[in-house]
Amino acid sequence: MTPGLAGFIAAGQDTQTSDDVISEVLTALEQEFTLVPDRGGSLRTAARRRTWFDTFDWRLYRAGLTLEYVPAHRGGELRLSGAGSAAPPAPAADVEQPVTGWQASRPHQLRDLPDGPITARIAGVVAPRALLPAVTVSDAATVRRLLNEDGKTVARLVIDQPSVPAAGQPLPPRLTVTEVRGYPGQARRAIRIVACVVGVRPATEPVLAAALRAVGRRPGDYSNKVDATITAGMPAAQAAATILLRLLDTIEANVPGLLRDIDTEFLHDLRVAVRRTRSALKLFGDALTAPLAPRDSRLTGDELARFAAEFKWVGDLTTPTRDLDVHLLGFEDTSRALRAAKPDDLEPFRAYLAQRRLREFRALSRGLRSARFAALTQDWRERLTRIRESVSGRTAASARSGQSGSPARETAGTLGMERTRRAFAKVARRGAVISPVSPAESLHDLRKRCKELRYALEFFAPLFPPVAYGAVLGDLKRLQDCLGEFQDTEVQIGEIRVLATSMLTAGEAPAVTLLAMGEVTAGLAARQQAARAEFERRFAAFAGADGQRRMSLLLRGGLA
């Protein structure tokens, strides 16, 4: 019943403080209305604390949603609004849901949320990630009623003074004029008066964004995508170092969450970044050792091989835990798919997986806390930063002196196109010789080559024309999905066999559980066969005549 809102920020100008601005707003409004404090009603003077929650990779924000937790005397309340700052905002209305036992400072798993409208709405967006506190804001709001000559309230002015405890500083006060139904003219008049006061500007930015900035963050500040800023004319060594540094950022960003075991995706993102790093070293590691790179910073072949070996060590370190995560994440679906066995039959298997995971996770934690891992990331960052800065310094110096540099110097454009072309040729060549009787290994090898090509496309994405890029990537993704299904099911079948043997040896395998595990492997085998049957069509769509033409167009566009 309070339609029509107009928001302002009392930021102040020059020497004006926000208190000065508020005082001037009140004086200006008093010329037209009688102002009295509002002591009743839902907008009454109140202090409250709000904490925004999102996943580490901002899944709610990217979906245009904002989740807020407001603690109360008993329990608290979650509020989900569709007016997230990502465009376009979802049109749905705000939803509220009571929660108990929540702490604003801790991560919360989706499974800990009770059933309710918010749980139902966000489960598909958030899973399997946990909800983390992004920022907490304390608000102290005071409300003035604006009265007409009859003493009737015709509008309200809400003065909200937010502050961010973590930053130890207040945010600029926010002023909101709310309309009383049936008095739109008076509210418009009040809005015009407030807008004319010096030091007041329209509130275009949500409080969330301002609060995050106060703690040095911004919405969407983490993404697992390779979004390194490179240009076609950039020296190849500089582009290579920039891409690898971006991947190192992702690796390092995920370590704390992984070690706290907040959710499984910290490990997943770290693994992907490590795999991308290893592929990048294979694809264009030579750019970091090339004689054209500055002598004082470039890597030797031995150093490059040492870093590659170290990243392989990190990758291997993470594999056992991730494999067990994959089993556990898909456990509900696996149980539901059982036909002969009962879901409960698999419970000892789940318990065994959870126990194994605990053990493997401890080993992984030890590795990531080790001096070896710390030295790897530190050395790698130092070397890459030196290469990037010395190349860019040299380029700037050449530009100032009017020299165009060495004509033979390789650019990011030529490097990207050449290495992408080479990766595609490898995929086309190896895929073409696969027949229905080829061994599974040939498909596994092709999957690896496809991954390399995918990474090459992603690394150099800023250089490609977007439409041609989208067309090639779409076909490649479908081929990768098919190869992934083929290999993942095979790996899972092999692992279940090994796990079944271990459970039997440990005396932890009831007969019904082994039977149920047998049924699970039968289901996986059926999926693997279906993927194998699908392969030929997927490969033809990607690397057939049309696919090759699309790739040529893409590479020509990248060099243009």
């Binding site: 019943m1 009623r145 003493g151 009737k152 139904r181």
Partner: protein
């Protein structure tokens, strides 16, 4: 949406003060989304909520459906409580209803669209027997009848109950209560005590005669707002609880 009407053929029995206080309690204490329609051209309820007794296009535009009722709604100073103000043209509402076909269910039709937005509607009726009051009686789910404790007023209640009993189809609940009761008067005391216990359509709660209730027109606010701990405010709270309990 439940429609409550405060009605009595006689004037000066406390219809408006009852409508204003009950609507306020419904909105603030029962948290019902509430609207009060001031049907009395004198506009006393509008005055108490400091809303000008004026409706764009007058009663004619509303009755003829040229303007939706929604357009006339004004927010009061209180959460959850809105008002449809009086208009001087309401004095001709009988004629307007007659012109619109003479239906005794016109008001019910006009109010129907408000169901999406409100949980409770209060109708503050002018004192009369007319097409307007017939419309009100047909529209209401609960008719709240303030009575002065006299023998004659009890007779009026009987006439009203008999009239409502004759309705075909929807019949509202009729609940009377004694208003402006002066316990020092022997007659008041005898009538309120005997009738409250004897008649199921008379509430046990009585609203005493208190000068603070008259102050509502000075304060221009429900007594439950400016004197929330007063005997009058307590009495209105008790009355609202009893009405809800007996008509749920």
């Amino acid at each position: 949406m439940k429609i409550y009407a405060t009605y009595n053929i006689k004037g000066g029995v406390g219809k408006t003060t009852t409508a204003v206080n009950l609507a306020y309690l419904a909105a603030t204490e029962s948290k019902l989304r509430t609207v009060l329609w001031d049907l009395d051209p004198q506009g006393a309820a509008s005055f108490m909520f400091r809303v000008k007794p004026r409706v764009k296009g007058g009663g004619k535009a509303l009755i003829r459906g040229k303007r939706p009722l929604d357009d006339a709604i004004k927010g009061t100073d209180f959460d959850n409580l809105d008002l449809i103000p009086a208009d001087f043209t309401y004095r001709n509402m009988d004629l307007l209803l007659d012109d619109a076909g003479g239906s005794d269910r016109k008001l019910k039709k006009l109010l129907a669209p408000l169901a999406a937005e409100y949980d409770a509607v209060f109708l503050d009726c002018p004192p009369s027997i007319s097409l307007v009051s017939e419309n009100v009686l047909h529209a209401a789910d609960v008719i709240v009848v303030p009575l002065i404790p006299t023998t004659l007023s009890v007779r009026t209640l009987d006439q009203l109950t008999e009239f409502v009993d004759g309705f075909r189809g929807h019949r509202p609940d009729v609940l009377a209560f004694f208003s402006m009761v002066d316990r020092r008067k022997k007659l008041h005391k005898e009538i309120t005590e005997s009738l409250s216990s004897e008649r199921p359509d008379v509430a046990a709660t009585v609203i005493p005669y208190l000068s603070i209730v008259e102050n509502m027109s000075v304060e221009r606010s429900p007594v439950t707002v400016f004197a929330p701990r007063s005997a009058a405010a307590r009495a209105y709270r008790a009355l609202w609880s009893e009405i809800r309990a007996r008509t749920e």
